[in-house]
C-alpha cells in the first residue's frame, strides 16, 4: 500500500481507479479520462496534487542558496509572490528534478517539487542549506488542489477562505500569495488558467467537495498527463532525468548561463553548449492511425531518436508526443509502433494552450 493523501477516501467513494504514482495511491481517473480532459479545456477541473511536496526555505541566505542550486536565476524575482520554473542539476548537468520556486520575502522562498523525487531533493537541498544557515521545512501538513480551466478561478475564488478571496482574485499569472495557512498560486500543469491551492490537510475534503458542488469536475492523473502533454510540459522521469541536461530537454529557456552567477551544473552546460548540443526534445504529431508511446524508437536521416511521452490528444483528436531526437532532425521521422513504421511530423510544442491548437494540423 502506498501513501495516501487527505482526499484518498473521497476518491475511492467517487469510484476512482487508484494507481501507484511515486509511492502514492493516486486517482488515475473517475470515469472517462477524455471527458475529464475536456472539462479542463472548456470549463473547470480539479486535481488532487497533495503528493507533490511543498518545501519552505527560510533564512537570510535563501536567495543565494537558490541561485546556487537552480539553473534558472531567482535573482530575477523582485516582486513578492512571483514564481519561477527551474531545473535543479547535478554537477554534470543531469536533472535532479524540476520545480517551482516562489519568492515570498528575503527570508522565505517556497518550492514545490515532484512526489517521486522529494526525498532525494530534500537531501540535496539540505546538504547545501546547512552551510548557509537556511532552514529546509517540508510541509507534509499541507494538501494541494489544482483547479484548472477557463472558469477555474471564477468557480474557486468564492470557495477560498474570506481572507484569501480578494488577494487571490488579484494574483497575476505565475504569482502566489499566503493567506494565513492557505497558499494560492496562479500556476498549473495543464496549459489553462487556474490556481494551485495549498491548504491544511484537515481543510482539504471540505474544499474539494465545495468545488465539486460548484461544478468543478474531478480529474485524475490520466487527464493530467494528456493535458500537460498537449501543453508541451515535460514530465520528470519521462522527458528528462539525471542522464540528460535541460539543453537536451527543451528547457534551455529555463537556464540562465549569462553573467557571473555560478550554479551547480553550470560548467557542464557551458561545455555542452560550446561543443554543440547533440540531441533535442521536440514535439511529434503522428500522421497516421496509432498512438505514440514512450520508448518507441524514431528513425530519420539525422539518426535515431526515442519517444519520451506519447498519448492521444483529446483536443486535437490525434496522437502527439515528445521525443528526444538528433539535433539536426527536421520535417518528419518514422516511428516504430508495434512493428509498423508510421510517419510523424516534428513540431514545436506546445500543441494546445488556453483551449486552442497551437500547431497546424
Amino acid at each position: 500500500m502506498g501513501r495516501r493523501t487527505p482526499l484518498y477516501d473521497l476518491h475511492v467513494a467517487a469510484g476512482a481507479r487508484m494507481v501507484d504514482f511515486g509511492g502514492w495511491d493516486m486517482p488515475v481517473g473517475y470515469g472517462s479520462q477524455i471527458e475529464e480532459h475536456h472539462a479542463v479545456r472548456r470549463d473547470a477541473g480539479m486535481f488532487d496534487v497533495s503528493h507533490m511536496c511543498t518545501v519552505d526555505l527560510r533564512g537570510a541566505g535563501v536567495r543565494p542558496l537558490l541561485q546556487r542550486l537552480l539553473a534558472n536565476d531567482v535573482g530575477r524575482l523582485s516582486a513578492p509572490g512571483k514564481a519561477l520554473y527551474s531545473c535543479m542539476l547535478r554537477p554534470d548537468g543531469g536533472v535532479i528534478d524540476d520545480l517551482i520556486a516562489c519568492y515570498l520575502d528575503e527570508k522565505w522562498f517556497r518550492l514545490v517539487v515532484n512526489a517521486g523525487t522529494a526525498d532525494k531533493d530534500l537531501a540535496w537541498i539540505k546538504e547545501h542549506a546547512k552551510q548557509i544557515g537556511v532552514a529546509v521545512v517540508p510541509r507534509r501538513d499541507l494538501a494541494m488542489v489544482a483547479v484548472q480551466g477557463p472558469n477555474a478561478r471564477a468557480k474557486a475564488t468564492p470557495l477560498l477562505p474570506e481572507a484569501a478571496r480578494a488577494g487571490a482574485a488579484k494574483l497575476g499569472v505565475f504569482f502566489g500569495a499566503a493567506f494565513d495557512d492557505w497558499f494560492v498560486s496562479r500556476t498549473g500543469y495543464t496549459g489553462e488558467d487556474g490556481f494551485e491551492v495549498a491548504l491544511p490537510a484537515e481543510s482539504a475534503a471540505d474544499f474539494w467537495q465545495a468545488l465539486a458542488a460548484a461544478g468543478v469536475t474531478a480529474c485524475g492523473l490520466g487527464a493530467r498527463d494528456t493535458l500537460r502533454l498537449e501543453a508541451g510540459m515535460n514530465l520528470y522521469g519521462n522527458d528528462m532525468d539525471e542522464t540528460v541536461t535541460p539543453l537536451e530537454s527543451g528547457l534551455a529557456w529555463t537556464v540562465v548561463l549569462d553573467g557571473n552567477r555560478d550554479f551547480v551544473g553550470k560548467q557542464a552546460l557551458m561545455k555542452q553548449r560550446a561543443d554543440g548540443v547533440a540531441r533535442k526534445l521536440s514535439g511529434l504529431v503522428l500522421l497516421d492511425r496509432g498512438v505514440l508511446r514512450s520508448h518507441q524508437k524514431t528513425y530519420g536521416p539525422a539518426g535515431e531518436g526515442e519517444v519520451t511521452s506519447g498519448s492521444f490528444s483529446p483536443t486535437l483528436e490525434r496522437s502527439i508526443g515528445l521525443a528526444r531526437l538528433p539535433a539536426a532532425t527536421d520535417g518528419t521521422v518514422e516511428v516504430d509502433i508495434r512493428g509498423k513504421s508510421i510517419p510523424a511530423r516534428v513540431v514545436t510544442a506546445p500543441f494546445v494552450r488556453n483551449g486552442r491548437a497551437k500547431i497546424e494540423l
Binding site: 481517473g29 472517462s32 479520462q33 490520466g222 498512438v291 508495434r338
Partner: protein
C-alpha cells in the same frame, strides 16, 4: 461492477464469443476489459479472409492509456472486421457486447483456446484474473 451476459462464452484474456445463426463466431472484448483500458481511441481490426490460429493476436485496441492485443480464441478465417470501429472506437466503451464487436470468424475446427461460461468468467475476475 462489469456486465457479464449469461449467453456468451469468455476467455481468461477478456474476449467474449457469440455463436451466430450461420455458425460463425462474433468476438469482442468484455465490459471489464473496456473499463480497464479506459477511453478507446484506436482499434485495428483484421481483414476479411485472414486465417487465424487459436491464440493469434488478431486485433489491437488502444486507449488513451495503453495498447492491448486481442487474441482469437478459435482457429478460423476472418469473415469480417467491424468497419464502424475505425471512426468510432468508443463503440467498444459504449456497447462492448453489441455494436462494439471486433471481428466475425468462420471456425475451421482446427483448435480452440479454453473458454469459460459467464459464471466461470465472473469467478475468474473475482479471483483477480
Amino acid at each position: 461492477m462489469s456486465q457479464i451476459p449469461a449467453d456468451l462464452r469468455y476467455t481468461k484474456s477478456h474476449e467474449w464469443l457469440r455463436t451466430l445463426p450461420d455458425g460463425s463466431v462474433e468476438i469482442g472484448i468484455t465490459d471489464h476489459a473496456q473499463q480497464s483500458l479506459g477511453d478507446l481511441v484506436f482499434v485495428e481490426v483484421p481483414e476479411a479472409g485472414r486465417r487465424l490460429a487459436a491464440g493469434d493476436a488478431c486485433a489491437v485496441v488502444e486507449s488513451v492509456k495503453a495498447a492491448s492485443d486481442v487474441y482469437s480464441p478459435l482457429a478460423g478465417e476472418v469473415a469480417a472486421g467491424n468497419p464502424q470501429l475505425a471512426s468510432q472506437p468508443d463503440l467498444i466503451n459504449r456497447d462492448p457486447y453489441g455494436e462494439g464487436w471486433i471481428l466475425r470468424l468462420k471456425p475451421s475446427g482446427g483448435g480452440a483456446a479454453e473458454t469459460l461460461d459467464a459464471a466461470a468468467y465472473e469467478a475468474a475476475l473475482a479471483a483477480g484474473g
